[in-house]
Symmetry: C2
Subunit: 290 residues, 2 copies
């Protein structure tokens, strides 16, 4: 199983054009595919050599473009710009490439789309950082959007409860939406407790390498509980909320996140200072330019 | 049941500040609430008069800000900037206001966030229009993002099948995501068959008045079937796809959509011409400026 990549000018063009034009490897949105021999034969970029060689060329180009692997499948038609694919639950889906792509949008915005995923206990300051970050970036002329676990529960995820499987689905959907925002060129700030490593890593896997920036609010439970800005720890200790992270449900700290923001004792940086740490990271990694 | 509105500078500020500052009515994201008397009493903007009078002031301000009604409930604390709310399935949710709001993002982008919802039969040219539209708007320096029914099924909606309830859920989720994009300031182009009026109207109801622009691709079934760009009509006629819109499932044309794009006989406008019709509409309604 391998992923397919496309050339940039492939977007909304036809394969005959693709055959003759220069090949600039990039990812085809976030579509995930495997490729059969027929598809390989139909793809202009793989003419010459036997099918096995052609496949290996595609795989190499894909590896170079850091594309993804999944259990989805696809067949690529050489007749037009459409890619037929199927996945577990739906079939007859056509992946439409847009004429304006992520690169174009990033050029317009003079920034690179990415996801800043802020994780930590309730009361650790996730939302405060998200706000400070959006202010700091906006003042630099950058477009951000905050996806907040609670906010999204009022709309997209209003059908989900707080039971284990629904919490996982809540995070999965927010990860998918964050991916769309990053693809749109926006710097998407997701602010969620997201206590399980597995769920966070699942969201990370949706994004191209580097575009998922995990920020861990490393604040001791006692500090969060002493703050208790929403009064939720009190309710959890009184047994009025079940399965509350840190009280009767575990929080799994990240093992390899991009940024750790420690707050302990007297050494408590201001929200603005913390935001600047994240902004410096973005600047250094080139996300604040196209 | 009424919806709550906030003042623009309310975002990320505290109520004591709120009490003294000027009141600029605007919507608080898309939170949907009812307000109890305690909340009304706690809100600085409603001091003076009895509870009934204070409520009516809030309701009036809300009406002026064209806010929404639902069955959600909320209690507003006067102590800080948080709004506790509950809905059918989840509780202990806090609605976080962002420090950078929709108006700020629109100012940055020099456009107004909205949803262009393209509906029509398979083969009616929805995706083609979406592409032409994104090209046309991008060339004017406007930020767009296409949500395509098929694309989203590869990610956010990969757990959904094509059975009736899943199709409705597919459209609901895309409507919710489109709402988030519009809130982010992006001109979101949703391209879906969305055959049922009820589902489309559900998405319309999520957006502020005017921000949901329904575009009907009015192309006769015979024309779509003759084009059959994906070969799906052929499969449906052969009984290999069940419940295919136009073949063995109904399409309910919009009754009061904003734009109808007719294609019949020799009078078939080009994708660019159709895109220009939509762009003129956006221009006229002020969506192409902040």
């Amino acid at each position: 199983m391998v992923a397919v990549h496309g050339a940039r000018h492939f977007a909304c063009s036809y394969l005959p054009e693709f055959e003759s034009g220069p090949l600039v490897p990039c990812k085809l949105g976030f579509a995930k595919f495997s490729i059969g021999n027929n598809a390989v034969n139909n793809l202009g970029l793989c003419r010459g050599g036997d099918a096995r060689l052609r496949s290996s060329r595609i795989i190499k180009a894909m590896e170079e473009s850091a594309a993804f692997l999944t259990k989805d499948c696809v067949s690529i038609s050489g007749k037009d710009h459409q890619i037929m694919s199927c996945n577990g639950k739906s079939s007859n889906i056509v992946w439409h490439k847009s004429s304006v792509d992520k690169f174009d949008r990033q050029e317009l915005l003079q920034q690179k789309g990415c996801v800043i995923w802020i994780t930590g206990l309730s009361g650790s300051g996730k939302s405060t950082l998200a706000c400070a970050l959006s202010r700091g970036l906006h003042s630099r002329g950058k477009l951000t959007y905050i996806l907040d676990g609670d906010n999204v529960r009022h709309g997209l995820n209003r059908d989900l409860s707080f039971k284990a499987e629904d919490r996982a689905e809540n995070i999965r959907r927010i990860g998918e939406v964050a991916k769309l925002f990053a693809d749109s060129g926006v710097i998407c700030i997701a602010s969620l407790i997201s206590p399980y490593r597995k769920d966070r890593d699942g969201c990370r896997a949706l994004l191209p390498d580097g575009d998922f920036i995990e920020v861990f609010m490393d604040v001791p439970l006692q500090v969060c509980e002493a703050r208790d800005p929403k009064g939720l720890y009190k309710l959890a200790r009184a047994g009025k909320i079940k399965g509350f992270t840190g009280v009767d449900d575990p929080y799994e700290p990240p093992l390899n996140c991009e940024i750790v923001l420690k707050q302990m004792g007297d050494d408590c940086p201001s929200p603005c200072d913390m935001a600047e740490t994240v902004i410096s990271y973005l600047e250094e990694k080139g996300y604040l330019q196209a």
